[in-house]
Symmetry: D2
Subunit: 467 residues, 4 copies
Amino acid sequence: MRRPDDPSVDTSSVVEQPLSRQARQMLQIDFLVQDPGLEDLTLQERLRTWCQEALDRRGKVAGLVAIARVADAFATMDREERDGFYRMLIRHFSVDAKDVEEAVQAYLAATGPRARELARLTSVLESPRLQLYRQFNTVPQGIKFLLDLRADVDSRLKEDPDLWLMESELRHLLESWFNIGFLRLERITWASPAALLEKLVEYEAVHAIASWEDLKRRLHADRACFAFLHPAMPTEPVIFMVVALVRGLAGCIQDLLDPRAPALEPQRADTAIFYSITNAQRGLRGIPFGNLLIKQAAARLRSELPNLQTFSTLSPIPHFNDDYLQLAIEDGSIAGSFAPDEAERLCALTGEAEVARAVASVLATPAWPRNSRLAEALRPGLLRAARTYLTERQRLGRVACPVGHFHGSNGAKLGRINWLGDTSAVGMARSCGMMVNYLYELDMFDQFQADYTRTGRLPVDEAVQLL
Amino acid sequence: MRRPDDPSVDTSSVVEQPLSRQARQMLQIDFLVQDPGLEDLTLQERLRTWCQEALDRRGKVAGLVAIARVADAFATMDREERDGFYRMLIRHFSVDAKDVEEAVQAYLAATGPRARELARLTSVLESPRLQLYRQFNTVPQGIKFLLDLRADVDSRLKEDPDLWLMESELRHLLESWFNIGFLRLERITWASPAALLEKLVEYEAVHAIASWEDLKRRLHADRACFAFLHPAMPTEPVIFMVVALVRGLAGCIQDLLDPRAPALEPQRADTAIFYSITNAQRGLRGIPFGNLLIKQAAARLRSELPNLQTFSTLSPIPHFNDDYLQLAIEDGSIAGSFAPDEAERLCALTGEAEVARAVASVLATPAWPRNSRLAEALRPGLLRAARTYLTERQRLGRVACPVGHFHGSNGAKLGRINWLGDTSAVGMARSCGMMVNYLYELDMFDQFQADYTRTGRLPVDEAVQLL
Amino acid sequence: MRRPDDPSVDTSSVVEQPLSRQARQMLQIDFLVQDPGLEDLTLQERLRTWCQEALDRRGKVAGLVAIARVADAFATMDREERDGFYRMLIRHFSVDAKDVEEAVQAYLAATGPRARELARLTSVLESPRLQLYRQFNTVPQGIKFLLDLRADVDSRLKEDPDLWLMESELRHLLESWFNIGFLRLERITWASPAALLEKLVEYEAVHAIASWEDLKRRLHADRACFAFLHPAMPTEPVIFMVVALVRGLAGCIQDLLDPRAPALEPQRADTAIFYSITNAQRGLRGIPFGNLLIKQAAARLRSELPNLQTFSTLSPIPHFNDDYLQLAIEDGSIAGSFAPDEAERLCALTGEAEVARAVASVLATPAWPRNSRLAEALRPGLLRAARTYLTERQRLGRVACPVGHFHGSNGAKLGRINWLGDTSAVGMARSCGMMVNYLYELDMFDQFQADYTRTGRLPVDEAVQLL
Amino acid sequence: MRRPDDPSVDTSSVVEQPLSRQARQMLQIDFLVQDPGLEDLTLQERLRTWCQEALDRRGKVAGLVAIARVADAFATMDREERDGFYRMLIRHFSVDAKDVEEAVQAYLAATGPRARELARLTSVLESPRLQLYRQFNTVPQGIKFLLDLRADVDSRLKEDPDLWLMESELRHLLESWFNIGFLRLERITWASPAALLEKLVEYEAVHAIASWEDLKRRLHADRACFAFLHPAMPTEPVIFMVVALVRGLAGCIQDLLDPRAPALEPQRADTAIFYSITNAQRGLRGIPFGNLLIKQAAARLRSELPNLQTFSTLSPIPHFNDDYLQLAIEDGSIAGSFAPDEAERLCALTGEAEVARAVASVLATPAWPRNSRLAEALRPGLLRAARTYLTERQRLGRVACPVGHFHGSNGAKLGRINWLGDTSAVGMARSCGMMVNYLYELDMFDQFQADYTRTGRLPVDEAVQLL
């Protein structure tokens, strides 16, 4: 019987040792490797030799060691050396133009289904570089290397269009390997490996984690953290999400993040608030995962805690101020809800244009919510403006707000717009402090998702309609 | 902490339930699925609808269920229905010829590195069918479905060349997913899951397993079974290998398989005999794994049992009789080792041609080894002929014997040719009962492998040279 | 570094190798052990030396090896040698009578709370033998050895009262170690280790398992098998239970065991039938576990399959015929339900005594159910007799039927008495083919359990009352 | 389907939730529990009711919940309430004095082997309290509760002799449950659960861990941490040990603890230094584990890193200054090694008594090592004195130094005495900065252990003898 919890590779050492050393250890092939003696070559020559070796002897021990040497070298290269590496890959490991030419001509010359010609064309278009990338999967952390490689290539794309093909090959390969079927949903707890928890602290993008104590609080019984993990990277989350278990729909992010808030017994919670989703790997930009993560996490939580009735996000409206606020001010949507005398009393102004200017200048001062009368007067107009923004404003036939679009295309509905839901400077600056609950109704979202795809409009809860 | 290798789904139910049911269970999405009401359509129309749905809603719950429905339907289709399915896939999910044409022309028209044009060409050459295949990974047993699909397509290839492109796409995809880096070497023991052991019984190709008792004997302490497993198929071996732990180089397969042979304490063994390697998945034909399996298994055994000194196969010479025996008889290699009077006495014949005919007819009777004088007389000539066959006979610049080539390209050397190593009818018919030990010397095989690649000739142990 | 899934000890070898060898392997202390050179001693002298060594060097490597040698020797001893072993243990490893005498006198002489005197008395009463038993936990399979030791000692108890104290010490120790808190509820499936499944086949006491195929059928998706496992015996079930998932209350055991019955989709089942519970270890006789097993299994099933509404056993009435049938025949309970003419017609008899004799002789022929009129006539009387037996007949203030008592004291209620629920020869002979459903109502059984403890009477479902 | 071993309880919540809540969750019996309504009773009355319930309904759900309530209440009791709890246990759950009296008299009255009378006496001496303790194993964290209970009782023992029997029962029970056979040696790495690593930080007694970063450094590839874990407390180490992998015998603890020291590739290490062993559970005082931990850890390391040749501790001589320094000064051992003129020059003194006084006063100033001539002069005498102390000074027939005795009785030998091996204030104050390497020679320590048991003297390496 095997020991269930014996760590496969001492992760602490994984972090610090060269990959070529690790590859030998993992494959238990320490005794087999001959050193090829490349000391006299330049870095790029050595890289080229290793890459060629990795291709020529793929699946053999020598090939594995060559791959690991490339990954080790890459880790210590500076910006310029990496550039040289990319040039070398483009120069020596691209498709053979002559082969392509011939295959193209053969395709054009043929008739009928042309299956063979298509297959040949497809085949010659697969560059040696792509075959090389595939070899990285065979060494420990090789997949993480590919992610880092793509992140780096991706960041240079604008200034260096030559990298375009390289990036496209990498994205394509990673899309195939980070296919949802290879990912595993895992509940992350305080009993998870420290090497994994450390990455949460590092990656959490939405609401930064200050310390291990802060992290521990976020993994309390009234919180739940879920991640997708890839078997080739057991301590690297692909995407993760934090859920708060509360009573009633939570509308204020500051309350959820308050480290002094008392913990609720999870059995007493009736609502799960998904308040943070983080894509952890820059190298996976443009490859979507969030959809199933929310659904699977919701289903898992409901089976563990049958008292949970409501599954909701607590989400920002990131571009409300930029995209729409000025418009709403100008067309009077906001001031329109002021009682006439109130507008005067508050702003000491008459005339729509003046009121609009005044409202705009008020909202430009982050401290305005402290004036409670003012805030109260602004409230109905701003909430309505947010509702209009989320329900009516479209771009490319879908909800203009990217967060609204994300949840809409996942099958959520617009559940509540929260007044002063995020009073941080950022929150005020992007949406006058408003936050949104998108509701996930487990038995409806297949329907909602189909509707959204068709109409590009979010289903709206009655509460929001009555606003 | 959960066990890393514990299958998330009760395997017993996996076997019996429809995939669409399992997909819902696995994803915990039982409550979400709307039935599309396709009862009035023909089977092929339904299949087409599901395939389209799987592509349009990929990564969504509806897409997963559609995929699972395809797999369920496939399992019950007869030969003709499958044929219809393949036609439908070719007709409706192939590349768009017009797109290809345009991309080809754009490529031909462009100059310079043409990165964008290449990327576009690559992109249009990826058929919707291939994208569809990728979705199968998202449902339980979907990968096993693809293996079975390829095995079926592969078996029709000769008579139906239209399937050529389909097969090529499938092979390419499976090659990427059954990349060595995704496979896990596991020691299979009597404590392994019954659902996995059952597959060994089913698949063992080299020496059939008669019963669970027989299997248990093969997993005794003086045996070791290793398999490569893929994370998406926890109870399906990809390839497996059985090792006997013995004292001294074993030369006779019947001794190893004898169920009444007493078990040796593994600590007392000095030699590991790899006597059977089975590629378990027909759908992976042409995708090689054996190389690392032997090396990793050898390394693992040596670390557990430091007394092991020798790692060797006990292998057949499958085509010796067909390929070479007649030649050897005719050129006198075999009879040449008879003492002149012996040939006369044994065969009552003189003259080379007559002796050759006599030898041929003797060897055609499987029972000849029972005549020990005759056997003794034949021995030196046959062993030498086998040596010549293995060391000198080449085809396409490599060892003609496919088993010899396999081990040669893995870095093994020719260690011993065993007289009467397999006296079964099969063994007599393919190599006059001779068996071969290929030796794996852990600190030499990187060298040997490189030599073999260069020369196409097996390194030969002194014992064989002196033969 | 060793990989995580590297089996620390190959379980298959565990089964076959001497414990002393295994102990060295497990503790990785192979290099440490000096052989004491006891070849000249008799078996009992060697055993005594090893036992003494195990006590003197407890917790040291030498002690562990000594313990393992005792266990190895025991495995090959015949009945007489074991008897000698027990004598030796009684003679040399019992409490010191003088110490006891002194401690007793000190206790009697003291006054007040006498804590020290009690502690000393307790201490001297712990025999070296008991301390020796505790050491067995330190070697692989040592706990299984103790179970087998107790089973053997227990079986000799009647003829050899000297073993009484030994047995009492063993029971006491095992009770402490097989405490419910150390046991782990596990779902057994076809993916469980073969080494464990093999034990189910061996131990299943209620309905014998014919083959691996039969076993596989019992682990299908519409069955569930649960076991308590002890961490020191990962492939030995302590107790296990088989559940059938069905629609409606199942009343006939032959239907459940029919290998050709079609499998039900588990999600469609509304009822779980616990049809077999097996205490797997004779060495744990008298130490109860069944109670929590049923409750935990029911709770686990309900959380996995929320459609399950009813949890019931399908149980025999093992002593009905022996204990009660004759009485019921004699007092006319059975024939009383015949219509007068029916009795005459069926039995051609008048007069109570004659009818009673006739009924008794009919019921003595196992084939009587084939006569359907006769069976129909007997049915009401027999069912009522069974009800009376289960609800009114008591022994020692509790239900006379041991199965009824077991489930009553677990909090079950009497749910249904099934006519012809077990038509096997055994079933006919023990309860005229009747079987009982005891119902476990999850929200009532704490109450029912308390009631039963107080009254010694089973709660009865209305259906039974109306019978 | 939920994975069978998926922990139904999030370990992080285990820490924070009441045990009675956890017990219900773990047993999935949330729906079963009736609240007994004890609000009107005093704390001690409630405790007594729960304890009685736990005994009366042991193994039943109600019993488990009662036990958990006791544990929950205990966690919030103050010192005085705990005292009341102990009184209550002594008063109501002790042995029945009358039963004991009768059993004692029966024993005295009987003759022969008196097996039954002994068994009865043993039985009546087992208090209800002890039976109650055993029930704690059945609830989550119940074992940790018993450890904490014993630690508390143990700390009151001196002032409250009434607790003596209670403590003795607890120790006896824990000794049985923390038997080496139940413990599992585990390698602790940065991939271990944070909930476990957090305990290392909390418990590390020898060299305090400052932060998570410090901890991570101690789990680097050139360190190894091993712990014994008990299955009932997966995130609580029982005992743990930290090993540094170095080249050559390390003599200075400050070098090992230096966080800026570069990490060594573990494959290059030839020596393992066991520099810290921590007994993590005060409740296990007096129950020894260290012996096998060292040996198993050494064996495991050697199998992973075959280059390791030497296994050694780096240990303090905690009582050297207190026990022996003054004696050594007085008998001239230390000053005796001064060259005559050196003594004069250094101390400006003549006459033995004056030199002794001077040496004593020098050594009383912690900064003396900074004067390198002085230090050099003191070195030979102090090292010799330490050697004499460790090799000749005995107490109760064994080495007087407790650390020396511990390692001697484990089979180690005295390998080297290190000059200025611990220059911290503590190190100077207890042994003038000297540290000791005790060597574990894997193939000798069974022999050494036996010798030490016989002679009470440490085997001494030649290097020390020549000192």
